[in-house]
C-alpha cells in the first residue's frame, strides 16, 4: 500500500520534504538509494526520494549541497500531538497551518467528561469510595451492594447466586457493624431457597441377618396358591410387640435388626446404647445410612460424631446439590472441637474452590477466618474476595473485586476502627491509579491518603515497593487536591503531612537497605519552603551504618540548597556525636550554597530515649553560628 503521505504529495500540496541521497563517493559503496531499493526497506524513503530532485535542496537551504545525507522532516503536514496529563486532562493540538491564517490552538479536554458513559467510568463513579471517610454513611455502602445484586448477578446460575450471596453477606456485616454469628449467616444461607431439596431416604443397610430364613418366613403366612410369603404389613404396635418378644428370649441382636428394618430407631438406639459401643456404632451407622448422602442431616450427624463430614469433600459437584445447607449446618452447630469445625469449613471451601466455585469457596473461607494473602502465592487461599488468584492478573484484579474487598475491609473497621488488610492496600493503589487515569484525580488522591495512613500506622518498610509507588503517585496528584483549588492562597508547594512522612520513610528505607542506585547529583534547585520532620531512631544505629553512608543519607534527604537542618543523632559508636555533626556540616558546605543550622536537639532526654530528631525549617539568608 502506498503511504498516504505520498498521495498527498502527489496531489500537489506544497511540500518541503527534502530527501536527497547523494552517492557515497568516498567509500565507493553503492548509493543509499540503491541500498534501500535492494534491501526492500521502507517504501516511504524510496518513493519520496523520487519526487524531489537534489537540486531543490541546495536552493532551499541557500547553500551548497553537502555530501552528507539530508534527513527528511519528521512532520511535513499538520498532525495532532496528544498527551494525557496528571490532572485528568487530555491535551491535543489542533492540526492547523498558522502560516495560512489558522489559529495555533492547543485544546485541553477533561478526560472525565470524555469518558462519561463508558462502562469503566460508570463502575468507578458508582462506588462511594474511599470508604474510610468521615462523611460516609453505611447506608450508602449497603445500597451499593444491593445495586450490585440487582444488576450484575445472574441469579439463574449457581455462580451468580453465590456471587449475590457474597454481596448479601457484606450487607449483613455492614448492618451488624462487622460482627457476625454463625446462626445469622446460616439464616442468610437458607434464605431465598425456592424449594427445599428432597433428600431421598434409603433403605437401612442392616448388614448380614442373623435370623435364620425359616424364622423370617414364620412371621408371614404362606399364600397357599402361589407358594410365596406375602410381605407382612404390620402396625407400629405390632412391630414393637415383636421387638419386645425378641427381647423376652434375650435375642438382642435380632431385636435390633428387627427394629432397624422397621424404622424403630428410638428403640434400636436406646437398646444399643446400653450394649457394647461397637453395637451402638453399628446401629448409629445403620440409622445415618437411611439418610441420603447429601442430606444436611448427614453432615450434621457426621460433624457431631467428630468427623469431617462427607459434604466437605463432595459438595460443589452437580449431583451433590446445593452446598449452602451444609455450610449452614456447620456454622450453626459449632461443636466442642473448634478445630474440627474449622477444618471442616476450610475443607469445604477447598473443595468448592477446586470445582471453580470461587465465590462459594471464599464464603466458606470467610466463615473460617482465613487471612488474605498475595497473588501468585499458591499456598494462600484468598487474595481478593470473590476473585480467584489462580487466573491471569487482569482477570483477577477487576474493579468490582477491589470494590467488594474494600467494603469487606470497611465492615471490619466498623468493628475495630484500626483494623486493615495489609496485602489489600496494594489493590487500593491499583484502584487509585485507575481513578487517576479516568479523569478522577481528586478521588485517587483520597485513596492515596487512606493507604498512606494505614502504612504509616503499620510500618512502611513492611512493603517498600508499595510505599515507593504510593509516594510517586501521590506526588504526581498532589496538586489535584480540591482544597488547593478552593483556597488558592494555600502554597502549592506545601505538601500534606502524610505525604511528607511517607516520603521520609521511603528514603529512610532506601538508605537502610541499599535500595536504589547511585545518587543523582545535587542539581541546584529552586528554593523550597517546606517543613518536614525526619526521625532517625536508634534502630538506624543498630544497622551499623558507616559514616559515609550516614552522610550520604542525610545529604540525600535534605535539600542542601536552602533548607535548615536540625539534626539530633544518637550513635552508639566509638565516634563522638560532635565528630559526626562536623562531618555532616562539612558535607553540606561543600555541596551547595550555605546551609544554616538553627538549632540542635541534643539534650539528654533525646539521647536517653534513643530518639533523634531532625527538623527542617524554612529560612532566609544569613549565616548564623549555631553550635
Amino acid at each position: 500500500m502506498p503511504p498516504s503521505s505520498w498521495e498527498r504529495v502527489r496531489k500537489g500540496k506544497k511540500v518541503l520534504r527534502i530527501y536527497s541521497l547523494s552517492p557515497c563517493h568516498a567509500t565507493g559503496q553503492p548509493s543509499l538509494l540503491q541500498q534501500y531499493r535492494e534491501s526492500g526497506l521502507s517504501s516511504s524513503g524510496y518513493e519520496l526520494s523520487q519526487y524531489i530532485p537534489a537540486t531543490y535542496l541546495s536552493s532551499a537551504l541557500g547553500g551548497p549541497l553537502e555530501s552528507a545525507v539530508v534527513a527528511p522532516h519528521k512532520f511535513l503536514q499538520p498532525h495532532v500531538p496528544v498527551c494525557l496529563g496528571a490532572g485528568g486532562q487530555l491535551v491535543l493540538v489542533c492540526p492547523h497551518r498558522p502560516t495560512e491564517g489558522q489559529l495555533p490552538l492547543v485544546e485541553l479536554h477533561s478526560l472525565e467528561v470524555i469518558l462519561q458513559g463508558t462502562k469503566d467510568q460508570e463502575e468507578l463513579q458508582a462506588f462511594p469510595g474511599p470508604l474510610a471517610r468521615e462523611d460516609l454513611h453505611k447506608v450508602d455502602v449497603m445500597t451499593f451492594c444491593q445495586q450490585k445484586i440487582a444488576s450484575s448477578c445472574d441469579l439463574s446460575t449457581q455462580r451468580g447466586r453465590d456471587s449475590a450471596l457474597l454481596w448479601k453477606l457484606l450487607v449483613l456485616l455492614c448492618r451488624q457493624n462487622g460482627s457476625m454469628v454463625g446462626s445469622d449467616v446460616a439464616e442468610l444461607l437458607m434464605q431465598d431457597r425456592r424449594q427445599q431439596e428432597r433428600y431421598k431416604r434409603q433403605e437401612p443397610a442392616v448388614g448380614p441377618v442373623s435370623l435364620a430364613d425359616e424364622e423370617w418366613r414364620q412371621l408371614g403366612t404362606m399364600d397357599l396358591i402361589t407358594g410365596e410369603v406375602p410381605p407382612v404389613v404390620e402396625t407400629q404396635a405390632q412391630i414393637v410387640e415383636k421387638f419386645t418378644k425378641l427381647l423376652y428370649y434375650g435375642r438382642k441382636k435380632d431385636a435390633l435388626v428387627w427394629a432397624m428394618r422397621n424404622q424403630l430407631w428410638g428403640h434400636a438406639l436406646f437398646l444399643s446404647s446400653k450394649m457394647d459401643p461397637r453395637t451402638y456404632s453399628w446401629v448409629l451407622t445403620g440409622f445415618t445410612s437411611t439418610l441420603a448422602t447429601n442430606d444436611p442431616l448427614q453432615t450434621f450427624f457426621q460433624l457431631m460424631s467428630g468427623r469431617i463430614p462427607q459434604a466437605a469433600q463432595s459438595c460443589g459437584a452437580a449431583k451433590w446439590g446445593d452446598w449452602r445447607p451444609h455450610l449452614a449446618v456447620l456454622l450453626s452447630n459449632k461443636v466442642g472441637d473448634m478445630e474440627l469445625n474449622h477444618r471442616a469449613i476450610v475443607t469445604m471451601g477447598d473443595t468448592l474452590a477446586g470445582k471453580g466455585a470461587v465465590e462459594a469457596a471464599h464464603f466458606c473461607y470467610l466463615m473460617a477466618d482465613i487471612p488474605f494473602g498475595y497473588f501468585g502465592v499458591k499456598a494462600d487461599r484468598m487474595a481478593l474476595l470473590g476473585s480467584s488468584h489462580r487466573q491471569a492478573f487482569t482477570q483477577f484484579a477487576t474493579t468490582e473485586a477491589i470494590q467488594r474487598m474494600e467494603i469487606f475491609e470497611y465492615c471490619q473497621q466498623l468493628r475495630h476502627p484500626t483494623s486493615f488488610l495489609l496485602p489489600f492496600q496494594v489493590y487500593k493503589l491499583l484502584y487509585a491509579s485507575r481513578l487517576a487515569d479516568h479523569g478522577l484525580p481528586a478521588q485517587a488522591l483520597l485513596y492515596c491518603e487512606q493507604i498512606a495512613t494505614v502504612l504509616l500506622q503499620q510500618d512502611p518498610s513492611s512493603h517498600p515497593v508499595l510505599a515507593q509507588q504510593l509516594t510517586k503517585l501521590a506526588e504526581r496528584l498532589k496538586l489535584c487536591d480540591p482544597l488547593l483549588l478552593e483556597m488558592p492562597e494555600l502554597d502549592p508547594a506545601l505538601e500534606p503531612e502524610w505525604l511528607l512522612q511517607l516520603r521520609t520513610h521511603c528514603q529512610h528505607c532506601e538508605v537502610r537497605s541499599g535500595f536504589g542506585h547511585s545518587l543523582p547529583p545535587a542539581f541546584p534547585s529552586r528554593p523550597l519552603l517546606v517543613g518536614c520532620c525526619f526521625f532517625l531512631s536508634a534502630f538506624l544505629t543498630a544497622a551499623k551504618f558507616s559514616f559515609e553512608e550516614l552522610c550520604l543519607a542525610v545529604k540525600r534527604i535534605i535539600n542542601p540548597d536552602c533548607l535548615l537542618l536540625l539534626l539530633g543523632l544518637r550513635l552508639r559508636s566509638s565516634l563522638s556525636e560532635k565528630n559526626t555533626l562536623q562531618v555532616v556540616w562539612d558535607g553540606f558546605f561543600k555541596s551547595a550554597s550555605p546551609v544554616h543550622l538553627l538549632s540542635l536537639c541534643l539534650g539528654p532526654p533525646c539521647i536517653e530515649t534513643g530518639l533523634g530528631s531532625c527538623l527542617v525549617v524554612p529560612v532566609g539568608s544569613g549565616t548564623e553560628d549555631v553550635l
Binding site: 526497506l41 493540538v93 463508558t118 482477570q395
Partner: protein, 320 residues
Amino acid sequence: MVSVINTVDTSHEDMIHDAQMDYYGTRLATCSSDRSVKIFDVRNGGQILIADLRGHEGPVWQVAWAHPMYGNILASCSYDRKVIIWKEENGTWEKTYEYTGHDSSVNSVCWAPHDYGLILACGSSDGAISLLSYTGDGQWEVKKISNAHTIGCNAVSWAPAVVPGSLIEQPSGQKPNYIKRFASGGCDNLVKIWKEEDGQWKEEQKLEAHSDWVRDVAWAPSIGLPTSTIASCSQDGRVFIWTCDDASGNSWSPKLLHKFNDVVWHVSWSITANILAVSGGDNKVTLWKESVDGLWACISDVNKGQGGVSAVTEGQQNEQ
C-alpha cells in the same frame, strides 16, 4: 456535555509539533516549526505565557519535561541537529545546555525515570541515539549508540523504574535490582529495546512487526504490575501493543491494537498506563483500553476542535 476546559492560543507562527504537560499537569510546553518553544501556565483554565524560548535553527520536533525534583527543566530537539536543555533559574527560563553531537535532525527526546538521575535519551535521523547524563556542576556526560537504527531513529521512550510484579508479590525484603532500559523506534521498521550492562548500552531485543517506519514508541508507566507493555505505531497504519510477562524481559509478544487507514503519528499513555491515546494521519484521536479478557477496545474517539465527544460503546472489533 462539552469536554474542552481550555483552548490555548499559543501564537506559534507555524505548525505545532508537540504539546506536553508537565509532571503535575499545571504547565504546558509547545514547540513548532517556527523554531520556538513556548511554556504556558494553564492552571484553572488560564493561559499565561511564561516563556518563549528561542535557540533552535530549525523546526522543533519534541519537548520533554524532567522530573521536578531537579527543578523546572525542559528538553527540546530539532531539525537543526541540536538538543537544548532549558532551565528555570530565579523565575526566568534560560538555555542551560546545548548538545550538538548528532549529524542530522534529532527527532525525539525522553527523560529517564528520575530514580536513575537526570538522563536524557535523544534519537536522531543519523541513526544514532545519545544519552546525556548530568554529572554535576553544569557538566553532562555523553554516551552514544551509533547505528541504533539504519536510516534513522524516530522515537525513544524509557522503561519505568520498577521491577515488574514487585507491587503484588509478597514483600521479600530484597533489594530491587533496577536495570535501565529504553525502547526506540526507527526507519528500519523496528522497535528495539536497549539495556545498560556494566555502564554500556546494548541492544537487548529487536521487535519486528511493522512493515514501514516506526513513528512513535511509548513504554507504558507502571506501578509494579506483572506485565511490561510497549506501544508502537507506524507509517503502515498499525499500532501494536507489545507485552512481556516475565521480569527478565525476554519474551515480548505483539498484539495488533488496530489497523488504521492512514499513518499513525503518536501513541501516548495515561500516567499509570490504563489508557492509550492514539493519533493518526486522519487527525483523529482515539482512546483505547485493555479489557479484562486482554482485548483492546476503543473507549472514545475525541472530536477535536468541535468540543463535542462521542463515547464509543465497547465492542468495537479490532480490524485486521
